[in-house]
Amino acid sequence: MSVLRLIGRATLLHVKQLSRSQFEIATALFVPLVQATLAVYLFRAGTEPHRLLEAAVGAGMMAVWSSVLFGSGGAIQNQRWQGTLEMLMLAPRPPALLVFPITLATAVTGTYAMIATLLWGGLVYRIPLDVADPLAFAVSVPAAILGLGMFGLLLASTFVLLPNANAINNTLEYPIWLVSGMLVPITVLPGWTGPVGAVLPTTWASRAVRESVTGSGPVWPSLGVCLALSLGCLVAGALVMSYVERRARANATLALA
């Protein structure tokens, strides 16, 4: 109970800290305009207006993913630059519990871009916002965010171990959009991407959200798989995080030397 309270509070404060960065906000509001435009032109060819909404939601999921990838991938480095990493690690808590709220916060702030995408789509391109299953939509979006936040912990902990984390970060953004079926349906992708996509929580998150928008399938199984995979990432991330913390104390890399 107190752990949930800690996660809730800490996430809220990190969302606050992130949301007050003008750069982040500007990015979250304007990148979606580009993405909504892309989505519309990619799918204009199709005649049903529903495809447009589906594309806009997919673009929104891409925004959440980008936020998690860059925010979580660089989470530990960011805390180190702020000088807060030492103060965090000094708290009598497992290191994963200190970092998870940060990665969850990056997923939450990713929704600004999702909302902006839907708004731009509605305002500029008159995409009708008629969601097939509003209840499932209202549940699957937060659940998808929670899942991506858990996935973020694994990213945060493994990326600090990689010497070229930034380069890897940049190369992961588009492939995962594609493989997870955020941009185009998985069915049009080459067969070998299937297994890759199937183990990524991002695939199941965007599938669940899409299903709730289009009513094309049952939402709950996808959501269940998404959360199960995410939970796996959370556990793996927590293990790696404990290793990272110990290594950082041995190598004196908690502080900015």
Binding site: L13, Q17, T84, L90, A257
Partner: protein, 329 residues
Amino acid sequence: MALAIEARDLRRTYRTRTGWLNPRRLELDAVRGVDLDVRRGELFGLLGPNGAGKTTTIKMLNTLLIPTSGSARVCGFDVVSQTREVRRRIGYVFGGDRGLYDRLSALDNLRYFAELYGVPAARQKRRIGELLELVGLTGRERERVEGYSRGMRQRLHIARGLLHEPEVLFLDEPSIGVDPVAARELRNTVAGLAATGTTVLLTTHYMAEAEELCDRIAVIAGGEIQALGTPDELKHHAEGRRVLEVQAFGVSDAQLARIDGLPGVREASVDVVGTAQLVTVQSDATVDVQADVLRLLDGVRLGRVTARQPTLEDAYVAIVGRSPVGAAA
């Protein structure tokens, strides 16, 4: 169990790499075998020149660094294998203005860390209020930290370090950037904490602060403890010496070197005090160097000349000057 901190032969080597095209490994022995026993409720000072290994020692004791060898216990718990137990019981405040969430208010920063330290929800509000009052930030707590002055940030750090009422408090140059009045309040606060049973390990470069506060002091240089004792005991290190202070305007390095070379002179240094310089000459008590010093300063405009008994600062200078590093410098 009367010891709050016990360290046995603590050592820490930093391995770094320099160069990019042709990387070279460097090893630096920052702490070389430190033994410390700090009693519960004691206010213990760690003094030493820049790079002496004070921060490194503190970070080994507060679990941020794993010692290369040796062992340490805080409140009876091992700092390497029982980190959670140690962390629950300690507070850490370092000098400088980093380490806070700048875009959050002071209140949010404190709430966050109160939560991290598991301060019960029912108590948080009162505790935060008390601490804001203690560090004089009441009324400004809803402003974002990015708009705070350096001293205000420092005070917020101190409040944060005290949130969970730690048994042992590590203060690494806590008075940096704090104005004189606030520094005095800080000293009162620290003295008050020690009086109520909190163990404090303090580093500072202000001798007066150390002398006023500390029950015992260790002088560390070159990663080794050079002297340890009460402020009065440490002053014995300057025993048999006398100190001559000359206020001057425009003393050259060459003149200082010549003074240092006088027979009977142990230590000669010059500090800038306001617009003037203060030449401090420590000599053997049996030798009166005043006439010689004044002769070497011929041509320099001089102010007041005073001879006095050694202070803690003189003892510190003597100890550090005698140590291998000090002698090499």
